[in-house]
Amino acid sequence: MLSTLATILFWSAVLAVIVGQVGILRSTQRAWRRSALPVPFVERVFAWGPALVLVAVLYLAWGHATRPPIIEIQVDPTSREIRL
């Protein structure tokens, strides 16, 4: 569950990540267009690979940020006290 501040932070961060990644890809493609030589396939993998990893990371981050809080309960067998 996200608080309002955490929600703002999360989506601001996601926006910066997406804007940055799109900027990187557009810049890379501009550089390729100016090149007289054909762009090797592996160069395309190097450009798009990190972008795809980022998509997966953002998906996992959303899952992490919105999961319910975990409450740890420590039970000491020698006492009758339960600490949260």
């Binding site: 910066a16 990187i24 550089a31 990190p50």
Partner: protein, 311 residues
């Protein structure tokens, strides 16, 4: 190998005399092969995540630091062995032990492999196998993926090759937690996305060197303007990434404030490079290169402090 001054055998200092050891040419060369200045930053990005992942004992921290130094030092030595042909034509590197003729290339290779082997053994025996495997993966990535393959073949050499420098946070985390979670991988990604603007700031000022050596660094292949544009977008992305873990409470306000202030300064620095005229880029890009080192160290220290303050 060159003999020590006054004809004494190299590497034979007076026992217990640290200054004599530092003055011995062989000892100095062996230390130089490990690139200690670069490793100091790697150690910060190794140790800080240990305090984020849990509460390590001092002994564990010392073992991981020593293992990390040996592994990174071994990788750097093997890098100097592989790059011995181009180190000779770059002013920045031609005084290194191999191109200057002070050490034989095979000895350097054996030294590097020996260090990596020792590091793998000590991390596996005294810490855990995952930590040793991650450190060794970083070594292989640096030696084979970056140095052997990408460095001389792709303008994205330091983008993908930058992953090698991002292994230390995983190593530190695994040493304490024994496994990796999303926060650990975020620390990996932060170093991964920090590397391009950091190295391209250097490359902008060392284009002639890289050109002479035939290394296709981005400013030479894509041009300065496009490289600087990419530095900007990588920095925007990096600042966003550094804030992200706060959303799932991996860090709190100490880290958040540090990430925003340090990131804001880095953005400002890259923006100055972007706005500078082509003949006035040297000064702001040197500033970005120097500050980005401080940025990463302080960001990782802030993570550890944040966790300790919360604790």
């Amino acid at each position: 190998m060159s003999p020590a001054p006054d004809g004494a055998p190299a590497g034979a200092p007076v026992v217990g005399d640290a200054s004599a050891l530092a003055d011995a040419p062989l000892a100095k060369d062996l230390i130089a092969l490990t690139k200690p200045r670069i490793i100091s930053l790697l150690l910060v990005t190794t140790v800080a995540p240990m305090y984020v992942a849990g509460t390590p004992s001092l002994l564990t921290v010392l073992i991981v630091m020593l293992g990390g130094y040996l592994m990174a030092g071994g990788a750097n030595a093997v890098n100097m062995y592989i790059d011995r042909d181009i180190d000779d034509v770059m002013t920045r590197t031609k005084l290194r032990p191999i191109p200057s003729g002070r050490m034989h290339a095979t000895a350097v290779l054996a030294f590097g492999v020996g260090l990596a082997t020792a590091a793998t053994w000590m991390l596996a025996v005294w810490v855990n196998v995952l930590t040793a495997a991650l450190a060794l993966a970083g070594f292989y990535f640096y030696v084979f993926i970056y140095t052997r393959w990408l460095k001389r073949s792709s303008p994205q050499n330091i983008v993908i090759g930058g992953a090698a420098g991002a292994f230390p946070p995983l190593v530190g985390w695994a040493a304490v937690a024994g496994r990796l979670d999303l926060t650990a991988w975020m620390l990996f990604l932060i170093v991964f996305y920090w590397t391009p603007p950091h190295f391209w700031a250097l490359a902008l000022n060392k284009q002639r060197d890289y050109g002479n050596a035939g290394v296709p660094m981005a400013p030479l292949v894509w041009g300065e303007d496009e490289t600087i544009a990419q530095m900007w977008w990588y920095t925007v992305l990096l600042v966003g990434l550094t804030v992200l873990p706060v959303a799932w409470n991996a860090f709190a306000w100490v880290y958040l404030a540090s990430a925003l202030i340090l990131g804001g300064l880095l953005l400002w620095g890259v923006w100055r490079v972007k706005q500078a005229a082509p003949d006035a880029r040297a000064k702001p890009s040197w500033w970005v290169y120097g500050y980005s080192l401080l940025y990463l160290a302080l960001l990782y220290l802030a993570m550890a402090v944040d966790r300790r303050v919360l604790a």
